[in-house]
């Protein structure tokens, strides 16, 4: 008996140390308050303090990120993590003003549009250089946009371009197949970053990495970090910080700890249950703004079971959005019932709501012809909190007799499966962060294009695989409608139509949460999570 007593004693002492922390107040539902350390703008972007000329700033700023960079080729992917890198290394023809969402000059210093809206003529400055010092000309733009046609990620955006004509080194004319109100908005997207023709032709793999931006790639260790150094020859003057490092921390708690120990200067996406720590820490500051990252569940409409509208409606009624917000976001989120994002033109304020109602869900299931226990669906999720949301959904569905199997995978793999042309998935928990125009959103999310053989193929971000000709027609009509009031009514009608089909279940939008060291200046925190770090600087 002696040996048992001894070992128990040791164990108890050890355990005592470990759990001496005591209990903590249970996370209550936090009331929503908007906090930011800079000025919030009309679009919800938060600008940090201005970078001042007489202050000495640190040489390096390290940003802790949750998603790894997967490529540095602007036409090689659409992921947010990569976009933020492209904003540093490349430039686009035009940009979106974070203050009001308007289109402002980027690489192009000015442009004119023809009467019929189909021809754009751009003028560039003559002193633009790539980060290796070589001169930029309009040829590089033509090269980039032509190349985009063969990239599976970027071709959508240049689909409407009929021809590109290089007038001279600083002038370019682009002619579209039809007038597109949102053309410039598309050209502001990170995937349309301008690359160097010479560099790409010399090195097809690494050539695209170089742009005309304020930084150049220094070194990239996948799974660990990616660092960028300042390009001192930037025509508008060099950036305040010499080196920016994106350091990967997959886990939110580890990332936050790194911020608290000073290892990193910015912590993107801390876990919502840890936000209190940032607020209590004197050396840190919390940036918080409502985001336009809409969490939703697409339903692959050509899979057995999901092709039945009543099954889809049953799943919609089984989505307990309130509990998901409570458990997965610690209460820090807003329920979303619309099919387009908050702030987009034509958002229908009176849209029908699929409230969490298990009785209605069972009714719909009964109407579908399937019995409880017949159906099993797989749902794909990535990040930690999405798993919690999926577990809640799984539980609700089990109460109406639909079995849900959860498949967890890394974000990149999830994207891969969604992009896989075989479309071998059923449900997913995914998000979209679109503010590139209502038509672009609806067309990409739910639209389809006629192929040469007359069949319809789903568009790029159409995760629900919806192929509805009537929807396409309604969209096309709204796109060319010049009367704004009527256009708005058109979009209301489109949303109502979508609601009847129920291709996705919108869940919620939440907050951009970022922990930064006090005094961090120059960054612009965007509600679509594609932050602008070009002028970021940390005072010494």
């Amino acid at each position: 008996m002696k040996k048992i007593t001894v070992s128990l004693l040791i164990f108890v002492v050890f355990a005592g140390f470990v759990f001496a922390g005591g209990s903590k107040e249970n996370a209550k539902v936090q009331k929503v308050t908007l906090e930011s350390s800079g000025e919030a703008t009309g679009t919800g972007a938060v600008k940090s303090e201005e970078v001042k000329a007489n202050v000495k700033y640190k040489d390096t700023v390290t940003i802790g990120v949750s998603n790894d960079i997967t490529t540095l080729d602007p036409q090689g992917s659409n992921t947010d993590a990569n976009m933020m890198a492209f904003y540093l290394t490349h430039e686009r023809l035009v940009n979106k003003d974070p203050n009001n969402g308007a289109i402002v000059p980027g690489l192009a210093e000015s442009w004119t549009v023809s009467e019929d809206g189909r021809t754009y003529t751009f003028t560039f400055p003559s002193n633009v250089t790539f980060t290796n010092g070589s001169k930029f000309t309009a040829n590089d733009v033509k090269y980039t946009y032509d190349k985009a046609k063969s990239s599976s990620f970027a071709s959508q955006k240049v689909a409407d371009i009929k021809s590109i004509e290089v007038i001279d080194d600083t002038h370019l004319r682009i002619e579209l197949k039809k007038a597109n109100q949102e053309f410039l908005l598309l050209m502001a997207h990170g995937g349309m970053s301008i690359m160097s023709k010479a560099a790409c032709e010399a090195d097809p793999v690494k050539g695209p990495y170089m742009g005309t931006g304020m930084f150049a790639l220094e070194s990239w260790v996948p799974g660990n970090y990616c660092s960028f150094v300042r390009y001192d020859g930037y025509r508008k003057g060099p950036a305040p910080t010499r080196k920016i490092v994106f350091k990967l921390f997959k886990e939110a708690s580890t990332r936050l700890i790194a911020l608290q120990t000073g290892e990193i200067d910015v912590c993107i996406d801390p876990s919502t249950s840890d936000l209190v720590r940032i607020k209590e820490d004197q050396k840190l500051q919390l940036i918080k703004t409502p985001n336009v990252v809409m969490l939703y569940m697409p339903m692959q409409m050509e899979k057995k079971g999901l092709d039945n509208v009543h099954v889809r409606k049953a799943l919609a009624y089984a989505m307990d959005k309130e509990s998901i917000i409570y458990a997965a976001y610690d209460g820090e989120a807003t329920v979303q019932n619309n099919y387009i994002n908050r702030g987009q033109f034509g958002l229908n304020p009176n849209i029908h709501v699929y409230t969490y109602d298990l009785a209605k869900a069972k009714e719909e299931l009964a109407l579908s012809g399937y019995k409880p226990g017949d159906l099993t669906f797989h749902i794909m999720v990535d990040k930690e909190f999405k798993r919690t949301a999926a577990l809640i959904f799984q539980n609700s569905c089990s109460q109406i007799g639909i079995n849900i199997v959860i498949e967890e995978m890394e974000t990149a793999a999830l994207k891969g499966k969604l992009n896989d042309a075989s479309l071998n998935y059923e449900l997913a928990l995914y998000q979209f962060t679109d503010d590139l125009g209502t038509d672009y959103t609806l067309r990409n999310q739910h639209g389809s294009t006629a192929q040469a053989d007359g069949s319809l193929k789903k568009n790029g971000s159409n995760r629900c695989n919806m192929k509805d000709p009537k929807f396409n027609t309604m969209l096309d009509a709204a796109l060319v409608e010049t009367d704004n009031a009527k256009r708005q009514a058109d979009y209301y009608a489109i949303e109502d139509y979508l609601d009847g089909i129920c291709p996705i279940v919108p869940i919620c939008t939440s907050y951009i949460n970022i922990g930064i060291k006090k005094g961090l200046a120059g960054a612009v925190w965007m509600p679509d999570a594609k932050h602008d770090y070009r002028l970021i600087a940390l005072p010494e």
Binding site: V18, A20, D68, I257, E410, A412, N419
Partner: protein, 309 residues
């Protein structure tokens, strides 16, 4: 002696090829056509076909296997689906970290277990012995990642003595090394103890004692040297387990080693990286086992005699 080495080296080759085949076959059973992951949603059929050839996905399993081996012999493990970086380069970037972790873990294990095992053997059946054996048993029964979590909780989060993750500085390797080392220490303690017990019983020690050699010298000089032989064997064999255990420790402490490379690659469905890393790791283990066997054969005079006739 050389005959033995050459014989073992020759046997190594089919084993390595077999290992590569087993892993290759397993990884290629995974469903889904990886070409879509790389291509993107709007690729045409021709683009897909061209990409398949580029990625080496055409042909039967055997054809792909031989192509893979051919490239492997040139040091080319293919390219990651996700980052498009050379897999061999990715692996070699991470390998030093894992080796650092593994060697420190083994050091920790030896430092803990050998003295503990000796104390237990010399004080057989006293409370010292029982305590040592109970600790060893607990160490064997604990899942090492749980120990890692507890260590992280106590020493990193609550006390702040060590960092809770990452690879900055020397302090960051201590907790992961202890995590991996404890399991091995538990095993080695038991082995040391039983090995010492066997040897302590031997007659030649009685002779030494009768001759007046001090007890200390009896234990350390005579007994330990002979007891070490089975310890060294187990040690070598356990390298494989240490590498396996480091996979868990690397995950808990976000240590940028080979184990985490494999786990991350699996999450990303990055088959070339998983295959390449598994093959390289297994080859490493096989070679280490071979080296240990040769050293063992050299050290154990019985085997040495067999082969130097």
């Amino acid at each position: 002696m050389y005959k033995y080495i050459i014989k073992r080296l020759l046997m190594l080759i089919p084993v390595l090829l077999g290992v590569a085949f087993v892993i290759f076959a397993i990884m290629n059973v995974a469903e889904g056509d990886p070409v879509y992951q790389v291509a993107g949603p709007d690729a045409t059929q021709e683009q897909l076909e061209a990409l398949r050839v580029e990625m080496g996905l055409n042909g039967s399993l055997l054809q792909r296997y031989f192509r893979y081996i051919g490239k492997l012999l040139q040091g080319d493990l293919g390219v990651s689906y996700i980052s498009k970086m050379d897999v061999m380069k990715l692996y070699l970037q991470r390998l030093p970290n894992t080796l650092r972790l593994a060697s420190l873990a083994m050091l920790v294990a030896v430092v803990i277990s050998v003295p503990l095992g000796i104390v237990a053997a010399v004080n057989q059946n006293t409370w010292k012995d029982t305590l040592a054996m109970i600790l060893a048993l607990i160490g064997l029964s604990m899942p090492n990642f749980w120990l890692g979590l507890l260590l992280m909780l106590l020493f990193a989060l609550k006390l702040g003595w060590f960092p809770s993750g990452g690879a900055e500085g020397f302090a960051s390797v201590i907790l992961p090394a202890v995590t991996v080392g404890v399991g091995l220490a538990a095993l080695l303690t038991r082995t040391t103890r039983s090995s010492m017990l066997d040897v302590l019983r031997q007659d030649y020690l009685r002779t030494a004692r009768a001759k007046g050699v001090s007890e200390r010298k009896v234990i350390y000089h005579h007994a330990l040297r002979n007891a070490l032989i089975p310890i060294i064997t187990i040690f070598g064999v356990q390298f494989s387990n240490v590498l396996g255990g480091s996979v868990l420790a690397e995950t808990v402490f976000a240590w940028p080693g080979v184990g985490r490379l494999v786990v991350d690659a699996i999450d990303q469905r990055d088959i070339p990286t998983v295959t390449g890393a598994l093959i390289m790791t297994t080859m490493l283990v096989t070679i280490v086992n071979l080296v240990v066997d040769i050293v063992y054969a050299y050290v154990d005079p019985r085997i040495k005699a067999q082969y130097t006739k």
